[in-house]
């Protein structure tokens, strides 16, 4: 089922939580709603679920308008951030809940619940109570419970935020495999870019209630549409600059852009891994710190007339030769992007 949201808006008092957001999601895909906390991504998800009513705009499930459909009539599965398992019911009863309330015969519901628990790898825990499970196990029970009534849309609100880092990575890959196996259209909310990029087909980047960009992970990484997206999806350096003759200049820093760029002021955004440093007198910058980070090394420097800059290199990179605290270096920008100098940019 294709999902379409048109001009969704939602205010909480004077605060515009979601502001004119439109998107379309293809049937069977796994989509991430990515944004910092408070960006409105959870509110968008809750409006798709019917748990929050939009002030304006509409939601379409295929050709059916679902804007004012009661959540129980939407045939969706919702996985809550803190699982929201029924604490007084066993794991099996939790999973069978969506079938029981639809008056599916007890035996059928129990069989389906056990089937789903096998699918999520929790066979043998049917009789446990939620309090007796680990975070990762609860998360999988919540998923099995949401999938039991065979929803046409699966919505997950920060599904892995409450489990520890190691389990999280495992659960991510597992969710991707499960999605491919079940094939249900799924949308999950996350503030973690790695999570969004590692498992989703498409990513919607949300900021201050607005949709900043919508695209495949590669599109968003390679062609960030706004300065916010560029800053959000990687470690970047931002400088106020002036474009002239197809290059952006900020103090001693010069980034070649291409002749199509119109002259004038612009925000220059350079990713930390799109830089080359080498030792040179007099150079344009002074190295302040060299920080080893496992397989990479981060170099902090100050560019004359432009300010601090951060670059990352592979640990064994030849670019690091001779780079040490206090030395003068030349800086080359291999790839850069410019954005309009808007005053309200973060």
């Amino acid at each position: 089922m294709n999902l379409r949201a048109e001009h969704l808006s939602k205010r909480f008092g004077a605060f515009a939580a979601v502001d004119d957001v439109s998107f379309e999601i293809e049937s069977g895909s796994l989509v991430a709603l990515l944004g910092p906390s408070g960006s409105g991504k959870s509110t968008i998800l809750r409006m798709l679920a019917g748990l929050e009513a939009p002030d304006s705009g509409s939601v379409w499930f295929g050709a059916e308008e679902a804007t004012h459909l009661h959540p129980r009539a939407r045939a969706i599965g919702f996985v809550f951030q803190h699982y929201a398992l029924f604490r007084h019911l066993t794991v099996e009863q939790n999973v069978a809940f969506g079938l029981d309330v639809r008056r599916v015969p007890k035996a059928t519901a129990a069989r389906r619940a056990r089937e789903l628990l096998r699918l999520v790898g929790l066979s043998g825990l049917e009789g446990r109570y939620p309090a007796q499970l680990s975070g990762g196990e609860r998360q999988r029970v919540a998923l099995a419970r949401a999938l039991a009534p065979e929803p046409r849309l699966l919505l997950l609100d920060e599904p892995f935020a409450a489990v520890d880092a190691k389990v999280r990575e495992e659960l991510r890959q597992w969710l991707r495999r499960l999605h491919d196996e079940v094939g249900v259209t799924s949308i999950f909310v996350t503030h973690d870019q790695d999570e969004a990029f590692s498992i989703s087909d498409r990513v919607l980047v949300v900021h201050r209630g607005r949709l900043e960009q919508c695209g495949t992970p590669a599109e968003i990484l390679d062609e960030p549409a706004t300065e916010f997206v560029a800053r959000f999806v990687g470690e970047v350096n931002v400088f106020p600059s002036v474009v002239q003759g197809g290059a952006a200049v900020s103090g001693g820093l010069r980034a070649q852009l291409g002749p199509e760029h119109p002259p004038g002021p612009a925000r220059l955004v350079v990713r930390s891994y799109d830089l080359k440093f080498w030792r040179e007198e007099p150079g344009v910058a002074t190295v302040e710190r060299v920080v080893p980070l496992g397989d990479r090394v981060r170099v902090h420097a100050v560019v004359d007339g432009a300010g601090p800059i951060v670059a990352q290199f592979p640990r064994r990179s030849s670019l690091l030769r001779g780079i040490e605290r206090g030395c003068r270096i030349q800086v080359e920008v291999t790839t850069a992007r410019t954005y309009p100098p808007e005053a309200d940019n973060p």
Binding site: P36, R72, F78, R102, Q132, P308
Partner: protein
């Protein structure tokens, strides 16, 4: 969001002022602990155990047999029966009204919600005697509602309905408070989960909300029972303590003391005390059983 950290910020030397060493003596700590526990025990002995023991000893010096006989006299049994009837009514009414009011206050937003919430606490703040007096002014012979009640042929003051009104008023806060607190604590996500899974509002209530508030409701009702059995001022003013009609267990004790019939007073007091202990034990048992059934799950 990963951002470039300002240069040098994390390399700033952190200035630490050396703190004076903390003097830490196990001996003093254990003396302090013993003093605290001792003080609490002494206090409990003074306000709880002492009076109860005195009651028991006094009853023994009169003779348990006589006290029992006085507490099972027709008048005493009548008073006890009236109290139990009030308990049954208060429990039934508060179970329904308390739950509904708590859900309304916590889960819904309506004009005057704060006022309703505050009104539910009012009986805790106001003296029962004053409450009785206020009702007397409303439904008494010269009260504002007197003509309507007279026309309907209902007698409230110095009759059983008066006792019921007094009891319902003073017991109103307990279930509302307990249930509202737990509803607030639990939040809405389990109920929302039930809704997205296709449960109707009624199914959500019976299958999700009620099991979650059950223990709180039980506590609230226990306090309702205790308050009903113990209420004195309001039922005296509105009921008048007419033997065989509107006399309750507490007003029976009061009247017995007035009439110097100490056996009856002590006997009834012991019956009430035993009932309270039984109620407490019953609830503890129910709680323990529930926790055993749910593993580590807490109420």
């Amino acid at each position: 969001m990963q951002r470039v950290e300002p240069l040098g910020l994390s390399s700033l030397p952190t200035e630490t002022t050396p703190l004076p060493p903390v003097s830490h003596s196990h001996t003093w700590a254990s003396v302090g602990r013993a003093a605290l526990i001792g003080a609490v025990l002494l206090y409990l002995a003074a306000v709880l155990v002492g009076p109860m023991a005195a009651l028991l000893l006094e009853t023994r010096s009169l003779g348990f047999g006589q006290a029992l006989a006085a507490a099972t006299s027709p008048a005493a049994l009548g008073a006890l029966w009236t109290s139990l009837l009030l308990v049954a009514i208060a429990v039934a009414a508060n179970a329904v009204v308390g739950t509904c009011a708590a859900i309304a206050i916590v889960r819904h937003r309506f004009v005057g919600r704060g006022l309703v919430s505050a009104l539910c606490d009012l009986p805790l703040a106001v003296s029962p005697v004053m409450i009785g007096l206020a009702f007397l002014l409303l439904v008494g012979e010269a009260g504002a509602l007197a003509p309507i009640l007279a026309a309907a042929g209902v007698k409230v003051v110095f009759s059983f309905p008066g006792l019921v009104i007094a009891t319902l008023f003073v017991t109103l806060p307990y279930t509302v408070r307990e249930v509202a607190y737990v509803l607030e604590e639990i939040g809405t996500s389990e109920e929302e989960a039930a809704t997205t899974l296709g449960a109707s509002p009624l199914q959500t209530f019976w299958r999700v909300t009620l099991p979650n508030i059950r223990v709180a409701l039980g506590y609230g009702l226990l306090m309702t029972i205790a308050r009903t059995l113990g209420e004195f001022g309001a039922v005296l003013v509105l009921g008048g303590s007419i033997s065989g009609q509107t006399q309750t267990a507490t007003t029976f004790i009061h009247d017995a003391i007035e009439e110097r019939q100490l056996e009856g007073a002590y006997g009834m007091a012991l019956v009430l005390a035993a009932t309270s202990v039984a109620l407490l034990l019953g609830l503890e048992w129910a709680k323990a059983r529930r926790q055993a059934a749910h593993g580590k799950a807490t109420a």
